[in-house]
Each structure stands twice: as C-alpha cells, then as structure tokens.
Symmetry: C2
Amino acid sequence: MSPIHPQRTSRDAPPTIYDVARAAGVAPSTVSRAFSRPGRVNATTAERIRQIAAELGYRANPIARALPTGHTSMITLASSDITNPYYFEIIRGAQAAAAERHYTTLLADAQESGVLEREALDRTVPSVEGIVLASTRMSDTAIRMLAKLKPLIVVNRDITDVPNVVTDHAMSVHQAASHLVELGHRRITYIGGPEAAWANGMRWRALHEYAAGRDDLHVRQLGPYPPTAAGGVRAADDFAAQRTTAAIVYNDLMAIGFMRCLHALGARIPADVSVVGFDNIFAADLVVPGLTTVAPPLRTLGSMAVHNLLALIGGAHTTAVQPLALPTRLYERESTSPPPSRRRAWRPVERTAAATAGNRLPSPP
Amino acid sequence: MSPIHPQRTSRDAPPTIYDVARAAGVAPSTVSRAFSRPGRVNATTAERIRQIAAELGYRANPIARALPTGHTSMITLASSDITNPYYFEIIRGAQAAAAERHYTTLLADAQESGVLEREALDRTVPSVEGIVLASTRMSDTAIRMLAKLKPLIVVNRDITDVPNVVTDHAMSVHQAASHLVELGHRRITYIGGPEAAWANGMRWRALHEYAAGRDDLHVRQLGPYPPTAAGGVRAADDFAAQRTTAAIVYNDLMAIGFMRCLHALGARIPADVSVVGFDNIFAADLVVPGLTTVAPPLRTLGSMAVHNLLALIGGAHTTAVQPLALPTRLYERESTSPPPSRRRAWRPVERTAAATAGNRLPSPP
DNA sequence: CAGGCGACGGCAAGCGGTTGCCACCAGTTG
DNA sequence: CAACTGGTGGCAACCGCTTGCCGTCGCCTG
C-alpha cells in the first residue's frame, strides 16, 4: 500500500500551494484554482500543476481550507452509547453515506452520561458542518436550540420542527403480529419496555390497532419492565400467570431473558410459547432457540440521516426535508411456531436455579 | 459583506476575539492571551475579558486556532470494524482518555475493507495530531510509513520500531489453564483460531509452556478453524473424537458454536466438558450456560494507547514509550466445573438437527 | 482599425486565531 | 537621579487556502 506522501517520509511540514506554485512558476492562487475550480484555469496549465503537485506529494490542508470557507467536510454523529448493539449499524450507515460524499464523521460517544454528551458536543460542534443525533439524553428544547446553531437531523425521535428519520413502528408491529397470526396464534401478549420510551407506546398502540381490525385476535399488555435481560425475566413470571400463546417483546435483550426464564419454568419454546423480539441484535442468532425478531432498518436509518443532513447543509430548507419512516424486516428463526393445541397447554413448574441465573445482569468487562 | 461565507448568512456568525476585544476595549492579542496564556496578562483584566467573553457567548474557533499552531486536538482512531464487539471497549477507553485531555477522536471505520481504510485514513490524517490503529488491514511496512508521518500507536500488534500496547497473552492463557487445573482437569485441548492470527500462535505456545512446567498436565491442539460460531461447530466434531475433558477456545464466538454443537452431540456442559473462551463478548453472558472466558483489558488497551500517543505528541521519543502488555481477567460463569469421573465419560450421540443449526452464520442485519 | 469580449493569471485581502517583539510604565537599585 | 527591570498591553506578521477584482492578451466584430 502506498504511503500517503510518497515523496516525503520525514515528519517535517508538508508542501503547500506556495511550494507547488514556485515549482510550477505560477501564482498560488492559480494552484488553488487548479484544484478547486476546474474550469477556471487553462486545461494544460492545470494538468501541469497537478502533475507537479503529485510529484511533490502535495495535499490540500483541510484546516487551512476550512478557515476561509467554513467548509470542514466533517459532521458529528452523536450517540449516547456506541456500545449498544442497536447503534452500530446506524453509525455504519451514517459513516458510509458520509464517506461517499467525502465527509468525515466525528463520533461523539456520550457513554450514557448527559455531562459527557454535552462536553463531546461542545468539543465537536464548532468544527463541523452539521449534526446527526443517533440517540441522546438531551431534552427536546435543548435539541431545538442546537438545531438553531447548525443543521441537525435526529434519528428515531419525533420532535416538532426538527427534521428526523424514524423506523416505521407500525409496520414492525404488523410484521410481528401477522407472522404470529399466520402461524395460528389468536392470543398475544405485548411485553412492554420503559414507559418513557417513545417506541414502547408506539408499539403497543400499533398492536392494539392491528387487533381492533380483526375480532378473532385478542391482545393484552404486560409491563412496563426495564429494557434488559433482567426485565425479561421479570416479565416471564407475570406471563406465566396468564394464558396467551405468544409474546411480542419490546426488545431482543428482554426477549432473551424472557425465553431463558420461561424455559426454566418448564415451557418449551416455541412449542408452548412463541416469542418475537425487536432489533435483531447480534446475540439473537446466538441463543438457543434462535430468536425471531423484527429488524429496524438501521443502516438505512443512518445513511438517510446523513443524506438529509447533507441536503440541509447544501442549503435545502428544513421543511423541504421530509420526515421519513423507514421499513423494517422480519427475521424468522426458531422461537416461533404454531400454538399448542388447547388441551396440551403448559403449566409453569417451580423455578429452578437456572431461571434465577437470568437475573444477573451482563457483567461489565 | 462577506461573500466568502455564503453559509453564514442564515445562521449568524459566532463572536470572535475581535468582538470581545472591542467590547472590552483591549487588543485582540490580549483576548487571545487571556485564554491561552493565563499568567501573561494582568489577572483583573483577564477576568474582565473572560467575563465579557462569556456574556457574548464567545468560544474559540478550533479551526482558526489549529491553523497557526498545528494543534488540532484531534486524533484518529482507526478500526477495521467498529461492529466487532471486540473493539467497542477499546474505542471507548480511547475516547474517554482522549476526552479527558480535551482531544476529539475521529473514528475511521474501515468496514473490513482495505480501500475504505485507506480512504478514511487519507481523509482524516491531515487534520489530526496522531493516530491509534486499533485494528487494521495494513501491512507492517505501510504502518511504518504512516508512523513516519504522524505519531502513531498500534493496539494488539507487534511491529518493530512502532510503539504499541498489547494484551498479555501468556497471562490470559495461564488464567484459563490454571482455572481448569484447579478444578481438577488434567487433559486440555486448545481449539485454535486462524493460523495467521498472531494471538493464536501466542496462545498455543503459552499453553504449551504452561504444561511443560508440570508433568501431570497434558495439552493438545486442534485446528486451525475459522474464528466464527461455525468454526466452533466444526471444532466440536473433532473434539468429540478424542478424550480430553476441557477446551480452551480461541475466542468466544467459536466457543459458543462449540458448546452448542457439543450439547447437540449429547454432552452436558460443564458436567462432561468444560469450556473457556477468550474476549468476554457481550453474548458470553447471554448464552446458556454462561461462558467462562478470559477478558482482555480492552478499555485499558484503548486508554493506554491514547495516553502513550499523547505522550508521543507531547514530544516524548518513541523509544521512551515502552511497549505495554496489559493484564487480563478471568470471568467464571457456568461453562466450567470439575471433570467427570473417568468411568462416567460421555460418548457422542448422533448429531441432531439442533446441532447443524449452529452451522448457520449469524445473519447480517 | 477601434472597441469589445472572453479566457486566463496574478494581486491582495481576508478567515480567526497565535506569538515574537517592541513600547510603555511603574518600581527598584546603585 | 539615571539606568535597569519586570509586568502589561499592542502591533503586525504569520498559518495555508479561497476568491473578488483587476490587468493582459489574443481574437472577433462592425
């Protein structure tokens, strides 16, 4: 692989347009134009300049360029927690879209702390052209303030007057529910996540509406529970106390804890209980049985966010950028099947040690 | 009147030292010094200036500052794949250490592509003060060239003349092995990862040396296998054909596939076979039984890398920065226990459908 | 052949900070 | 009392690149 500056291997100052200009016998401004204003300079001189620049290993200094133009070719991508499996692909989609347009992303990881988030944002915002908020602890009003400062797009959060991209929650719930209905389930429980989570309300409402359209389907709700494996374990106890054949769980982490505890309670999955999660996290495919789950369009979410952001930066008006609801996709694995016949319904047994093991939170490395 | 700043017209320009200077009745240079050279200006004037600056909402423009000083307060953190669970914590450790020193990290995600890596690096390198290579596809020589250009630290890779931080592989293997030995195991198999992986050779060698020191312990090696869940499944077949009671597996992903397949072959884990992995990935705590594993000091790896990098940037000589081998830690979960008594050794049964399920690779979202 | 015009290159003024150097003003010192 | 000194503040020259504006020149037009 070629070194970045073939000619100069030492760490001294890289060549500038002045060096190139001198070598080519032209003015610095001509060198500048040869690169940034293609038609403006005679084709042959331009070619000669580029030739010489290449020989010298010249590369435009992005900082110097940014100063007069304000055009840094950087955006910040703020996430409250890059460790959360949920955000990798958003980040990747965003980075890919940015790279395609020769933009660099500054990743502001808040590590779940409001203070760190503020600091990271403070540190990066002055030098970027726009901001993508992939997830944030900030209040709506704080976000609106920030949006006044720089072009900004929010992901998966609906704030009036701030352009955003979100997943189509109604669609995701429809996919989960109709999958279960097609398998023959008629009684479905929604295992709720945190009450404060926007998506939680959206999901339950969507499921409720879905059921309202068909009188052979009964849905109910349990929760709220914390959105963790431990939360799923708690939910399993409550679930066992009633008689529905399938669960749609707020997220995969909960669904995994839920399945583990249900198993310990003597239920066979999917024979006795079918389980569908949301998010399609990496571990969904690693557990046994594999978890059927609805995957959000993470990658697309990220890339659309950046696309819209760049449009905004390019001068598009806020109102011209439509809020987008992106389609989800169902991954069928082994945690769903037709419901058991009525007479063979499962009854919970005494909880064993294995079940309580699920109470342990993932240990921090 | 500034036609040079077409963007600034909508969102108005933030205040500069000139604005502050005028408001305070001093020269711009004094304002500059009030912030960047604390003792240089009279304490009371400095205070007054800071006061006025705060009122105006002045914030130093990092780009403008970087131009004359070359001090951008940014470093790039290159990872071949931010989606890999292995790198989150390295990234976090690095970001935290950087943030502490008011440095911003540019994340260059190569998405496993050499071309993208090159591009990302090209794009970011000119505007940063140093580079951390968390994982890379680059050749040793390419890395050495890059190191000539800017201060650089490599993580988990040993390149002569390039400062690095690595995990203590010998220690990690000792922890795994002595844990098993203490439980009573005397015959241990090492399930190898890719032959090309540096860590793989290190681990087998360390295990071999560990065993050489004690004549009641027998170790052997199987592999190489791909470092995936599917690789672990293949290894399980081979493992079943011999008679050791414990496996130390190249990484957690393989270990999970390995356990799953072994289970399908009729082995009880840990009663029949004890399994230890490496890396302590998130899923290690989600599978049943929980996987006992040796955790690399990821966070520390990242933060030490940045610490050393900043030292290098600060002018420390390369040789002054010692290569570091950082200590690992064993997480005991449920996949290890004393070995079965000799007469109750397990025999593999016919493989069932569940076993082959493990062959599926995690589906890409 | 004068006037006009487009193509092309150069000049110089920034962008917003930093910093070497000098000026000025007490306050000391011999 | 002159010379010296340390503490402060201002001036102006950068850092490397962009770009408005102007000058030059060759060519076209009437």
